[in-house]
Structure formats: C-alpha cells, structure tokens
C-alpha cells in the first residue's frame, strides 16, 4: 500500500468510516512511514479543530421575528385556498377553547398598537408603514374576526410575550445539543453582544410588525407572501442546480492576500491539451479550474514558495512545473489530473 492510498484511508479515518481491517492497514503503514504519521497527526488535529467550532446561536429568536410574516402567509393561503398546506379551519377546530382568549388578545393588541401610535407619533422604518396600516385597522380588525382571528392573534401573543426578553426560549429537548460544549462560544457571542444595541430593537419592531400585519394582511393578501411561496418551490426541490455548471458565475479569481490586497503580479494561464482544465499561475500561486464550468479544482497553493513554468503532458493527466521555495531552492513537481494530487518528480 502506497502513501497515496493511505491518504484516502486517513481522510476516511477522521470521518470514522474505516472498518477494523482498514484501520490496522492504516496504522501499520503509519507505524513505519514518518511522513504519513506526521500527515495523519495534522489531519486529526484539523478535524478536531473543526469538530470544536463554536455552536453559534442566534442573538434572538428567529421564529418570534418571523411570526408576523407567517401570519400574513396564513391569511393569504386561507384566501387563495390553493396550494396552501395549512388549513386554517382545521387548525382552529383543533383548539376551539382558545378562541375567546384569541379575540381578547387581538383586541388588546390592536389597542396597544393604536395607543403606541397615538403616544409616539412618527416612527421610523417598519413602524412607519404600520402607521398607515393602522388607519384602516378598524375595518381590518372586523374582517379578521371572521377570517383568521385566532391565528393572527396567536402570533401576536407569541410576539408580545417575548417582547422584553431577548433570550429566546430554547426549544424543549433540543437546546442542550445545540449549545457549545466549550468556552469558545463566549468569544463568538461577545461579537453578538456588541450588536446587542441593534438586536434589542428587534423585539419592539417585531411587536410593531405584528400590529402592522393587521392592516397589511388585508391590504396585500396575495402580494408578497404569495410571491414568497412561489419562489420557494424552485429552490427546494432542485438542489443540484446550484452545483451545476455556471460559467459566468465562477470566474477565475485572482488570489487575494489576507490583507485584502489583490496581487497584480505576473499571471500565466495554460489550458490542458484536452481542453478540460485551465491552470492559472498568479504570482507563483497555482490554481486549476475546470474549463467547462470554471469551478476550482485545485488550489490555490499556499504562499511562501512559488510555482512556475506550466507544462501539460499530451494526455492531460500531468501538469509539470517548478517549485521554488523561499530560500530559492528549485524542485521539479507535477500535479496529477484529475486526482489533483501534487508530487515532486
């Protein structure tokens, strides 16, 4: 078993995909091949680092934030009947006892909305638009009563309930697995905390949004929610399309250094004889692209050391070049295609 074959075993090893026999093959090889042993250690370290990435959580409850929009969609779906998968009637039937609370909370919420508008006058952004909506709110509310009151006001209730606490309620039974086991989460959330000022406005605008949706759901029942549902279809079913060829979308990107400075240095391109691959050297950094769709197949190679002098073999299975290390020492190297494995001659 050669080192290249072992590489695949190593990769599968970190994914816990090896059976006993394969594991002992790997360990045997690693036992007497220091290069592979070092490689395995690096790979295990990387994989561990990836496994320990912080399980970041949103700074506020996303579901609370979108409840008003969901209510709009329900209203639109109820009116159009059509493809809506939610049947408002059956939902209401499933919890009839809530209806009086729903009506009451609807009225209370409307009162709050109107009250807020009266007291605070002009608003910005989304609340501003709810002001217009509120003008037609009385009729809207009247319609709501007969249409989908329980749903609408149910969403309001949820929204207002969490209005003052931004800590979202973790969903029962799932939260523990989502939260970070390690302390690094803290660092991530510190960033989120720095945006707390912005985030803390969310609940109030969420409440405003809910009151706005009273009017909005009536003003535009088939507008945005329906459009939203429409675009949804094309994406959901057809994941492959995103991985399919999109030549215009994947241009050969020049390597950009960490500091954001685009390297404008010498660029060398070489198309493989079979026309399938395009190798690009930019300031000694090699990238190989799939010529048909422009996707990146190899690289970019790390900086520190430069590659130069691209030469394809006739069968387009090997790309030769010279590697010059930072000390100026030159090594002939080649890239095996389509495996995209780099090796020295």
């Amino acid at each position: 078993m050669n080192c290249e074959e072992v590489m695949e075993l190593m990769q599968r090893h970190v994914d816990h995909d090896l059976d006993e026999q394969e594991t002992s093959l790997l360990m045997d090889h690693v036992g007497h091949c220091p290069d592979c042993a070092a490689m395995l250690e690096k790979l295990v370290n990387l994989s561990r680092g990836l496994e320990q990435l912080p399980r970041v959580v949103p700074p506020y409850s996303l579901v609370d934030k979108i409840l008003p929009e969901l209510g709009d969609w329900d209203a639109a779906a109820a009116e159009t009947g059509g493809e809506a998968s939610l049947a408002p009637r059956s939902r209401r039937a499933s919890r009839p006892r809530r209806s009086w609370i729903a009506k009451l909370s609807g009225v209370v919420a409307l009162g709050i909305a109107v009250g807020v508008l009266l007291v605070n006058g002009p608003f910005t952004g989304r609340l501003g638009s709810s002001q217009q909506d509120a003008a037609s709110a009385p009729e809207a509310a009247a319609n709501q009563e007969s249409a989908s009151t329980s749903d609408k006001s149910f969403s309001m209730k949820l929204t207002t309930k969490d209005q003052y606490g931004e800590a979202q309620e973790p969903p029962a039974g799932s939260s523990s697995t989502f939260l970070a086991p390690d302390t690094t989460t803290r660092n991530f959330s510190s960033k989120e905390l720095s945006k707390e000022g912005a985030a803390s406005q969310e609940p109030s605008s969420g409440g405003g949004g809910a009151s706005g949706s009273y009017g909005a759901s009536n003003a535009a029942p088939s507008g945005s929610p329906a459009a939203n549902a429409g675009t949804g279809g094309t994406h959901g079913e057809n994941a492959d399309q995103y991985f399919a060829a999109t030549p215009s979308d994947s241009p050969a990107e020049p390597p950009v250094s960490d500091k954001g400075v685009t390297l404008t240095a010498a660029k060398e391109e070489s198309l493989s004889p079979d026309g399938k691959w395009k190798a690009v050297l930019t300031d000694g950094v090699l990238q190989v692209f799939n010529a048909s769709d422009g996707s990146l197949a190899f690289g970019p190679t790390p900086e520190g050391g430069k590659r130069s002098g691209l030469v394809w073999n006739e069968s387009s299975t090997e790309l030769d070049y010279t590697f010059t290390d930072p000390e100026g020492k030159q090594t002939p190297m080649y890239l095996k295609v389509p495996e995209m494995k780099e090796a020295s001659r």
Binding site: D15, P54, L62, V63, S85, N187, K191, G232
Partner: protein
C-alpha cells in the same frame, strides 16, 4: 432530533406544531447559515428566509427523506444563492477580529483564535467544499446525509470533503506562518 409525530402534525395543518417545529430547528438552521456566509447579519437573514420557506413548504416534505437533510437542503440553497449574488463577499473584516480577540481574557484568546482562524479559512473555500465541510462538522452529517442534502453522488461528497480538508490545512499553515496578528 425532531419528533416524527410533530412533523406529521405540522404537515396535517396544526400551526402550533409547525411553529414549535421551527423553534426546534432554528438554531441548526442559523448555524449552517453562519458558517456558510461568514457574516452574522447575512446569516440571520438567510436563516429567517429558510424558516419561512420551511413553514410554507412543509407540505412538500416527503418522509422518504430525512427531515434534517431536507431542512439543510433548503438553508444551503438559500445561502449559496446569497453568496453567488453577493460576490465578492464582504466578510467580517480583520480589524474586527483582532479587536474582539483583544477584548477577551487572555487565556481564552488562544483557543478562540484557533476557531476564528478555522472559520476564516472555511470562508475561503470554494462554495461546494465549504458546504460539505459545514454539514460534516457543524451538523455532524454522515457522507450519505451530506449527499442527500446536496443532491450529490456519494463519491463527489467524499472528494469534496477530502480536498476541502487539504485546502484548509494549506490555508491554516499559511496563517501560522504569516503570523503578524495578535
């Protein structure tokens, strides 16, 4: 793990069930968006869009697929769409990272730094490599689950993942060598 009974109820039109189902998955949806887009606000937008789509499309979910792979398919599609439209992507810039690192207690900097480096490196991967890495490590998906989510052949998933790890090693190696930060 979302209870099958909850999914059934949601599909049958029980709005309460559907909303609590969304609450159960919102963190995992956000996490994928966060690591794919490498930008908090974009991730929040994408995650919300995904949740709305799940809400409106729950009827089209078929049991033969795993629910969580179906969910991840939706969120990854939205994210891929987003970063294709918004290229070149503006990620959280370097100054901000350094600034936050300095704010932290010294002991925490070391461990957090590594995570930040890795996250940045993931952000430099080509989109399909990045997606595969995120599903493998942030959702703990198997090769098969990744293949189902992305509609890719199993072997393609493996080669993307293997190549992605090699690229990450190169990127992180660079990072350590060019260590002017911190």
């Amino acid at each position: 793990m979302v209870e099958p009974a909850l999914i059934k109820a949601a599909q049958a039109g029980d709005r309460d069930a559907l909303v609590s189902l969304l609450r159960e998955i919102e963190q995992q949806v956000y996490r994928t968006a966060y690591y794919l887009l490498n930008h908090e606000q974009d991730a929040l937008d994408a995650a919300q869009e995904a949740l709305i789509r799940i809400y409106t499309k729950i009827g089209s979910y078929e049991e033969k697929a795993q629910f969580r792979t179906w969910v991840q398919r939706i969120v990854t599609n939205i994210c891929i769409d987003k970063f294709r439209r918004k290229r070149p992507s503006v990620s959280i810039d370097e100054h901000e990272l350094v600034f936050h690192a300095k704010d932290d207690v010294e002991g925490e900097v070391l461990s957090a730094y590594a995570a930040e480096e890795i996250r940045e490196a993931i952000g430099k991967l080509p989109e399909h490599h990045r997606t595969v890495v995120v599903l493998r490590y942030l959702q703990d998906f198997s090769y098969n689950e990744i293949a189902d989510s992305l509609g890719l052949p199993l072997n393609t998933v493996k080669s993307y993942l293997f190549r992605a790890r090699q690229q990450l090693q190169h990127l992180l190696h660079d990072y350590q060598k060019g260590g002017v930060r911190g």
